[in-house]
Symmetry: D2
Subunit: 357 residues, 4 copies
Amino acid sequence: MGNSPAFTATPRSPLRVAVAGASGYAGGEVLRLLLAHPAYLDGSLVIGALTAGGNAGATLREFHPHLHPLAERVLAPTDLDSLAGHDVVFLGLPHGHSAALAAQLPDTTVVIDCGADFRLEDADDWQRWYGTDHAGTWPYGLPELTGKREQLTGATRIAVPGCYPTSATLALAPAVAAGIVEPTVQIVAVSGTSGAGKSPRVDLLGSEVMGSARAYGVAGAHRHTPEIKQNLSALAGTPVTVSFTPVLAPMPRGILATCTAPTTASAAEVRAVYEKAYADEPFVHLLPEGALPATGAVVGSNAVQIAVTVDTDAGLLIAIAAIDNLTKGTAGGAVQSMNLAVGLAETAGLPTVGVAP
Amino acid sequence: MGNSPAFTATPRSPLRVAVAGASGYAGGEVLRLLLAHPAYLDGSLVIGALTAGGNAGATLREFHPHLHPLAERVLAPTDLDSLAGHDVVFLGLPHGHSAALAAQLPDTTVVIDCGADFRLEDADDWQRWYGTDHAGTWPYGLPELTGKREQLTGATRIAVPGCYPTSATLALAPAVAAGIVEPTVQIVAVSGTSGAGKSPRVDLLGSEVMGSARAYGVAGAHRHTPEIKQNLSALAGTPVTVSFTPVLAPMPRGILATCTAPTTASAAEVRAVYEKAYADEPFVHLLPEGALPATGAVVGSNAVQIAVTVDTDAGLLIAIAAIDNLTKGTAGGAVQSMNLAVGLAETAGLPTVGVAP
Amino acid sequence: MGNSPAFTATPRSPLRVAVAGASGYAGGEVLRLLLAHPAYLDGSLVIGALTAGGNAGATLREFHPHLHPLAERVLAPTDLDSLAGHDVVFLGLPHGHSAALAAQLPDTTVVIDCGADFRLEDADDWQRWYGTDHAGTWPYGLPELTGKREQLTGATRIAVPGCYPTSATLALAPAVAAGIVEPTVQIVAVSGTSGAGKSPRVDLLGSEVMGSARAYGVAGAHRHTPEIKQNLSALAGTPVTVSFTPVLAPMPRGILATCTAPTTASAAEVRAVYEKAYADEPFVHLLPEGALPATGAVVGSNAVQIAVTVDTDAGLLIAIAAIDNLTKGTAGGAVQSMNLAVGLAETAGLPTVGVAP
Amino acid sequence: MGNSPAFTATPRSPLRVAVAGASGYAGGEVLRLLLAHPAYLDGSLVIGALTAGGNAGATLREFHPHLHPLAERVLAPTDLDSLAGHDVVFLGLPHGHSAALAAQLPDTTVVIDCGADFRLEDADDWQRWYGTDHAGTWPYGLPELTGKREQLTGATRIAVPGCYPTSATLALAPAVAAGIVEPTVQIVAVSGTSGAGKSPRVDLLGSEVMGSARAYGVAGAHRHTPEIKQNLSALAGTPVTVSFTPVLAPMPRGILATCTAPTTASAAEVRAVYEKAYADEPFVHLLPEGALPATGAVVGSNAVQIAVTVDTDAGLLIAIAAIDNLTKGTAGGAVQSMNLAVGLAETAGLPTVGVAP
């Protein structure tokens, strides 16, 4: 890919980026990040086609009034005509819609899928959870996992992780990889509502969600369960059992994942493992002892706050991670992957400071 | 207690009820419930002294403008002078303040402590978690637990359970008592902010809590851990290991407790156990299969929504409970206990319908 | 109406009440109130048919999990078959749907319309704002307005006021009726999201409304403007000019209406007028000087908090009202009207204490 | 100021910036913006002393965990020792504390006061509203007002406007300056809670503010009234009467100001006036007809959304502005002023894209 002219960003041939599904939350967040990206600001990256399905023909303002510089852009239909001629195409489409579209795009185009289509490696898993034929597996856009950064460098097809898997995997990865926990993990993750997307659903109305916390998708019913299992099992070198319960909380953004696994290690041993694992990771902030993650501290940023300790009475490692589901959990991870794919600095355009309070 | 004239509520001698700590959230919620209690409405229960610590001398309006009928009441100091002559005294005081006050009240006075002072049975446990001398143990105000209803009937000293223990204990009790789970439970409970009380703390400011979820008190650091352990161990007849992580969510009220324990039972077996256990409980609503609890559905009510299932892949029973931490979790449990203590219908004055949306 | 057997509520012939549009917010709130109504509790009022449009066939649980005692009720279609045989029918239908249905119900049935169809007296006004033929005008369900209580007593057709008109009219009525303000009023009213109903709309998603306040319907664009104008003009005996701006705030319930009108009266004169006007009104709470309304104090209640003062620098009377839009602003006003219509105590089943915090 | 070496930012002598009151919301937001400022990123601006009052000695993490790169900085006391040697000093102190401190700093130091001390021109006004001696008047940090940009260029003392005055002044300025409205304006402004600061107050607890809207400071009681009056009167060339009612809404950030003034101009005339006035303003976004401001669209940004129209029935111009009270309303205005003062691009480091949803 390195010798593709598409990725030689020069004043004469800036990197052309398209966003399919621009009216949704993933697409909007990709655009928010791109608008502050140094490559955009210096002209070496341009924002090309913005496309939508049913919303095509409307202006972006109707869906994202916060994206002021692009507000009068008219949304094109999500098809090959609109997306051709771009160097990078972000896909923020409903699950199952990416494969057919991606197949039409040239191999040299960097296609970054924020959907689930290419995350799972096991075709049976895909079939069980999504009910359609497996489209394949793309390099997984979580550079913090061993080996992934290398696979993403120069990649032209990238599967952005799910938001829950991002938080839970990063919370547990060092312990699982180091073999200091048993392979039976439990995760209860509280999420803001934007993770459920922008479809008009009664159960997601403000009136319904404000003032209420509710569980959904218990007992392995959430589609992110096999993705977490896949990540952790690869790190463990053995199948990891995953119990995952998502909880919807009354906030627009944020995931707080509380993760446990049996351990006989001491808190100090565990801490040493995590410090080593994340010492050089620009976005993972291992909190000092006594501090605990808050999603409010990472809103709008690509940061991951992690606290880890041991409950010696219960014999459990407890790791808690806070991310912004739309940033590190979706669009930030996507831009981070794009940076690696096209040879920009991995951290370019990705804030590590949250918007608080 | 049954022959104490104090509890013979007649038109000539109505039940006199005082609330100590009336400016706080527990006290305010007790008053909200009493104002709609049929015994109050028919004059057989009167609301006597309302007392406060530093807030004495002010009117109730300053703290609870929603309690319109009592708004101009002036708060008396929390002392024996104010509280003497009442048949029932609710205590909504900071932990550790109830014992000295209760010792001054006659044995025939029904004293209902919303604080922690008399919940724990083990003096060492109390010392470890609260740092002071153990004051004793009172009948535990959770009638739904085997044997407790009988102890509360006619009792003159009652320890109202903590809000987290109420939710977690009711979620797990049937399974633990039936021996269908192993004695190693994990609880992640999301709570609204009123559970932290009404002290002016920067970390509880609206600006800090809105838009953010955060963990606190991980790895057994929360004082409700030994109380949950005590409840479940008594039911199991063997020590139960408890891992408890509380999470603060941006809502004023509500607890959603996600509880797990290893099991080999099937979902149907588990369900049968829960149906039997809660068949006659007026406040415990076992949800039909597929429905999941939401705290919004129980706001302002004494109801407990419970869903239970089995994650067969993970080998775990998953029980989720939703309560209003101020109602069933504190003041509702207190009034339910009062009803039993003074011979009123257990459900009197306790709504089972939440205020939603 | 008084000699209709339908309204003689006896143990043998309890009042049968139906709710059309039971899956919506207005219908749900009517049911919440009825479930705690003393007539329901003593068996003299029974809850009959619950009907819906597109949601017919589903159980009530799917829409109102908080209405536990009715949760397994199946929704019937909204038609004459379902609604016949009831003494009282509440209509919580989209605007414009009530007239045709009401026309089929017997004259002796008490029909209480929570929609707009029968609020406006002027056919041209109706045509201008709603675009269809005017169906007529029914007694207006705001007993606090002079003369309305008498019209509602024994009425068999009642138009429940809009939520904004309830708050703004009650805030300004005493001053306008007393002639102490000029007939040019301005209203900016902040509303919770349930006022917009339960239709699945992207702009009402929790993700969109949380953390954001936004205006809508400025410059007389909101349909409640002519209703407010009608109320105030009748009181003034002269046309009143009304500027009304609604603002959507991130909360499920509540309206805070800030209303102004030019005055030369002193604060004391104004206060005296309001004290006299509302001295005997059970639901209107004129706050003491210095206290200001908060919607949080009236959540779930039928109370109206009002503060009134004069800005002498600006020469303006400022009256601020807080209501719960679903209770006093819709379903509470409807039940209050029902009580008057069928000869029950006007305040029966209507809380004056809010659920706070 | 231009020849002061302090402001010649070179690699060898970068601009040294201190923030006094760094643990508060204003100070924290200044730091959030500085951390993403291009001058900070290229090393020509360095963040020097961070000081606090009672919080001195603690790390910044305890107050602003989102400011990751500065989290381990220890807060110094707010005194001359800490602040000496800086080129720019931001003051985020309680009202009345800035004057004494500023008097000790060299005239060549750019002192930017986020407090109220130097905003009012009239000493009697100051005395009436703040009760202390008037400290003086500094150039007013609202570059969008005629003549202010010039005064701010190279200034060494700057008074940052209040958050409400920023929104209301920008909403009304074009109309008032053009003389197309009568000088009697009314403002109802909904604000998020961070505008009330970070002091631990019971009425600002999350439990109190969530789910509730409440008025405060009616009838000219809010200290921002004279500041708005001062701004508009200067533009009008005649005293302007201002009625201002602030409303607290359950959100951390944002002000939505609904402003009216009598007019006989048409909507088209009004629009032309506003288009001309704000054509070249980088932060003021005049919305297209039909679009209305939402605070959610400007969260974290320095943008001002304005909609303006005419209610012909009421004879009123209606202008609505949305800002982030902490950004454009405080810290963004402060950094914008700093840019002008030290010769940087006015827009440097100031986002115009909000963080939504």
